[in-house]
Symmetry: C2
Subunit: 97 residues, 2 copies
Amino acid sequence: MNEKLTEQERATALAPLLAAGWQMVEGRDAITKTFTFPNFIDAFGWMTRVAIWAEKWNHHPEWFNVYKTVNVTLSSHDVDGLSERDVKLATKMDKLA
Amino acid sequence: MNEKLTEQERATALAPLLAAGWQMVEGRDAITKTFTFPNFIDAFGWMTRVAIWAEKWNHHPEWFNVYKTVNVTLSSHDVDGLSERDVKLATKMDKLA
């Protein structure tokens, strides 16, 4: 079962992401980050790699792309907030960027 | 040179798109449409095909994806409004969907 992050998990798992440029979304238990690439090929190439991981893990981002910029929001619908799956996908996104 | 669509071009080129589900964006010379697919693989697969055409034509969409839904907005920055390139990309998007 996927579960909402506890306060302790937020301190340990979420803190490194917030230090790496992720931010809490105003009024919602979600995190967001804007990734900027040299060009569209790099931006969409990154999205494609993330997309395959997302599908493999059955956890999909909300994302908005314009040319070389991708704004991502992560949250878990099934728990109505942040879960371990968001931490995992966010960490993967940072690694792939 | 890319140029803004004339009134006459809007009547001929834009009308079929508006009849096919594209809508004018409020307060902006742009068109938008939401595409819905059976699942994420189909949604992102479609985005990937569109992305390669977009790069080939050097005309990129603004698009937002959540799972099986993709909301697209098209406009041409260089002419600050709709151009023939938006009509071309919108038509291709419809064909590929």
